[in-house]
């Protein structure tokens, strides 16, 4: 392979990308070296097993990915507003809509939510870390190296261009030769392993590590949503693992699963992809529901209405999520009976979702609503998500779907559910728990400005797309006819409004870091659940003494009784896990092996694989049992944190 085949050439935008990557990397290396921070970075972050730090790293990476996916989106919108200007060529456009979708779902939405789970769930259940802290670090590094591998594709080797769904035979070796599609396969495979590990980790954490007395039906609702999500992850991700592996074997080793030769069956890919893909949709929406429930209950100053109905509806949604996958390819050509079965099961999902909507409304009903930024995101979610949900039922009717399929109507629908659901929840959750993570609130005024820009931009961007879709505009086209122009221009204006909202949000992070008042207590919003019982910043062991829980608003009860998480008489030495460099090294090696497979350099893939096996052996022989925090140290830390 020549050097000019290795690097992507010929596009000014990509050259600019290369230059900025080099400059940013150089700047980071310079800053770390100049301020002598390498040791600090390694000790405090790269080898950490602390769930709070891992969560923060997840969220920061997800924000970076949101920026990357957002830039992709803006480029697409510019192209569609000025289709004759040759801003993007057709090939470049194909690559950008592929990476936009993949980055947003796999490397933005999931890590953002998993980051929030990491920080909050152990605090909500009164645990001192997750069940397997080193595995948790491994999950993060597998996601990060997977994301890096995928993102590097646009300067090295070329990006995948077969859509985020990568349907075969288009994505097969015959029609998409070269490393592009392999980047998709290996990037997702690597990060998918980490996601599966996270699912197992959180299930065990929630089942085994709850505070004494906390029954399952007394867990905070966000913890419940995490448990249900973890369950879906455990049962859905292996399907993706297999599907990706089969396509990789097709492309690299010449098997015939999804090919047009050897009696392969290309639509089997779609079948497997959506068997994972539909549960995946609920993996990114259920935690969002959990976040909104927490935020709405806190700022309505009321107990969540219909707690049990909320939990059962989530469980029902989880079950149904495995029974509807065919609605993504109704137009495959299956007979009426197959489509009808999945049409009915699809519409059933609207029932538990509707239950949740009414429960949120009932929680708000006759309450003193506080219009904080976090709550604004939650309140904006309800009507926006309903628009997305109702159009989803329209798409779920198989006969009607033949009209909507692959049009901008579909594009508008899934952006309405994914942005109004998942992205709003990410913002709401980040704003809400920000003081717990960083010791100060985000500025409310800037927060409101960014909220309104983003919300109005969102509706201006996507509402017209329903109509341009009904006018017949298909998705994934880089050129349009004149009749579709006006609505596309409006849509582009909205997209830039969202971009501006995001920019203000990021500026707010800097502004608040400089100017916000520091938190004095741990209870920033007069909270209801245990995470607010810890001091801010949270000590690395979380709870000096774990309270006994009797109700599902555990912290409300503690406040009434005057209890804290520091009961001097009951302090005992606390056992904590040691930091370890094994996860980052192991996943770094896995990243190298994956890179080798992307370019089909077998020597590199095999060497990486051997390295991985050796690291597993090292891990197996590691009997490090962690350390104990002594009573004196706990008392000192707590007194300082609580100003006693």
């Amino acid at each position: 392979m020549q050097l000019d085949e290795f690097f992507v050439t010929g596009e000014p935008l990509i050259y600019a990308g290369m230059v900025s990557i080099v400059l940013v990397t150089a700047a980071i290396i310079f800053v770390l070296t100049y301020f002598k921070r390498w040791g600090w970075l390694w000790r405090e972050w790269l080898t950490t097993v602390d769930h709070k730090k891992i969560g923060i790293m997840y969220i920061l990476s997800a924000l970076a990915m949101l920026f990357r996916g957002g830039m992709d989106a803006l480029m697409m919108r510019v192209q569609l507003a000025f289709p004759g200007m040759d801003f993007l060529g057709s090939q470049h456009y194909n690559e950008i809509f592929t990476t936009h979708g993949t980055v947003m779902i796999i490397f933005m939405a999931m890590p953002f939510l998993i980051g929030l789970m990491n920080v909050i769930v152990p605090l909500q259940i009164g645990a001192r870390d997750v069940a397997f802290p080193a595995l948790n670090a491994l999950s993060f590094w597998s996601f990060l190296f997977g994301a890096l591998l995928f993102n590097i594709s646009f300067v090295i080797g070329g990006s995948p261009d077969a859509g985020w769904t990568s349907y075969t035979p288009l994505a097969g070796a015959a029609m998409s030769p070269g490393p592009g599609q392999n980047f998709y396969l290996m990037g997702l495979q690597l990060s998918g392993i980490g996601t599966l590990a996270t699912g197992i980790n959180f299930m065990v954490t929630i089942i085994k590590m709850r505070a004494p007395g906390m029954k399952m039906f007394q867990m905070p609702i966000f913890t419940w949503s995490t448990l249900v999500t973890a369950f879906i992850i455990v049962f859905a991700f292996p399907i993706l693992t297999v599907a990706l592996a089969l396509m990789t074997i097709d492309r690299v080793f010449g098997s015939q699963f999804f090919t047009l030769t050897g009696e392969g069956l290309p639509m089997m890919w779609a079948n497997l992809f959506w068997m994972w893909g539909h549960p995946e949709v609920y993996i990114v929406i259920l935690p969002a529901f959990g976040i909104f429930s927490e935020v709405i209950a806190t700022f309505a100053r009321k107990q969540l209405f219909g707690y049990k109905a909320m939990v059962w509806s989530m469980i029902l949604i989880a079950g149904l999520s495995f029974l509807v996958w065919v609605h993504h390819f109704f137009t495959m050509g299956a007979g009426a009976f197959v489509n009808s079965v999945f049409s009915v099961s699809t519409m059933l999902i609207a029932v538990p979702t509707g239950v949740k909507i009414f429960n949120w409304l009932a929680t708000l009903y006759k309450s003193k609503i506080q219009f904080t930024v976090a709550n604004l995101w939650a309140l904006a979610f309800i009507p926006s998500f309903v628009i997305g949900g109702v159009t989803g039922v329209m798409l779920g009717m198989a006969a009607a779907d033949y009209q909507f399929h692959n049009s901008y109507f579909l594009v508008a629908h899934f952006h309405y559910v994914l942005i109004a659901g998942t992205v709003f929840a990410c913002f709401a959750g980040l704003v809400y728990w920000y003081p717990k993570m960083f010791g100060h609130k985000l500025n409310e005024r800037l927060g409101k400005i960014s909220f309104w820009f983003f919300l109005i931009g969102f509706h201006v961007c996507f509402f017209p797309q329903y109509f341009v879709g009904l006018d017949g505009m298909p998705r994934r086209v880089f050129s349009i006819i004149p009749e579709w122009m006006p609505l596309n221009v409006i849509s582009t204006v909205g997209a830039f409004g969202m971009g501006l909202g995001f920019a203000i949000f990021v500026y707010n992070i800097y502004y608040s870091y400089r100017y916000s008042e520091r938190e004095k207590t741990g209870d920033s919003w007069d909270g209801r659940t245990l995470e607010w019982a810890t001091p801010t910043p949270v000590p690395f062991y979380n709870f000096a003494t774990v309270p006994h829980v009797n109700s599902h608003d555990a912290f409300i009860e503690m406040k009434e009784k005057g209890e804290t998480t520091f009961d001097e008489e009951k302090v005992e030495p606390i056992h904590m896990p040691s930091n370890t460099g094994q996860p980052i090294i192991m996943m770094g090696i896995a990243g190298i092996a994956s890179f080798g497979l992307v370019f089909e350099w077998m020597w590199m893939a095999i060497a990486g694989l051997i390295g991985l096996v050796v690291m597993m052996g090292v891990r197996s022989f590691d009997y490090d049992d962690g350390f104990h925090v002594e009573v004196d140290e706990i008392k000192r830390t707590e007194r300082k944190a609580r100003g006693l």
Partner: protein, 201 residues
């Protein structure tokens, strides 16, 4: 992270961490069921799509497949005995029965490799058709699992020789026994739905 240790019951369950690791492994096995079922689904959907390659009924031989099945069934039994010995507190019994288990596992892998080579000579390879791709990947994934299990068990045998029976080492052996029995469960379905059905149809 409580480090309280129970005084009774099997060693592997005495610490909270031991219970959690075993529970985590059960959950992982749940994921493994779905992983294999996806491979089974692919195999089943691609059944009959042999193109120009030989039909499975022409190549499968009941004799060698039955021998492989008995090897694996027996290894699952001896693995159970190993854990039984471990719970009686016999390190020597555990090691002996575990080595027998691994020997049976190696026999299984040897026969499977021989079988694959034989099919390749007859013109049925990973590349020859959709059906044979499905066959080799499904059976191969199981074989790979057995191979990984053998390597893993050898690492654990070294650890137990050095450290003896502790809550940690017995937890590790209990977990690998779950893994080994699970591979037998998968093989039962492989034997039934690939070989028996392949020879009937």
């Amino acid at each position: 992270m409580s480090s309280h240790e129970l005084k009774t019951g099997p060693l592997e369950y005495r610490t909270q961490q031991g219970q959690m690791n075993i529970l985590g492994f059960w959950i992982f096995l749940g994921a493994e069921i779905v992983l294999f079922s996806t491979l089974f689904a692919t195999y089943a959907v691609l059944f009959g799509r042999t193109a120009d390659a030989p039909l499975p009924g022409e190549l499968f031989e009941p004799g060698s497949v039955l021998i492989m099945t008995f090897l694996l069934l027996t290894s699952s039994f001896t693995c159970g005995i190993a854990i039984h010995e471990m719970r009686r507190g016999s390190k020597k019994g555990l090691i002996t029965w575990m080595i027998i288990t691994l020997a049976l596992g190696l026999g299984f892998i040897g026969l499977e490799i021989e079988e694959f080579i034989h099919y390749a000579h007859e013109g049925a390879t990973l590349q020859s058709s959709a059906y044979w791709s499905g066959f080799f990947i499904l059976a191969g994934t199981h074989g790979l699992h057995v191979t990984v299990g053998i390597g893993w068990a050898i690492l654990l045998l070294i650890q137990i020789a050095k450290r003896g029976l502790t809550p940690v080492t017995s937890r590790k052996f209990f977990i690998i026994s779950l893994y080994w029995h699970f591979l037998d469960v998968v093989w039962i379905f492989l034997f039934t739905s690939i070989y028996l059905i392949g020879m009937v149809v």
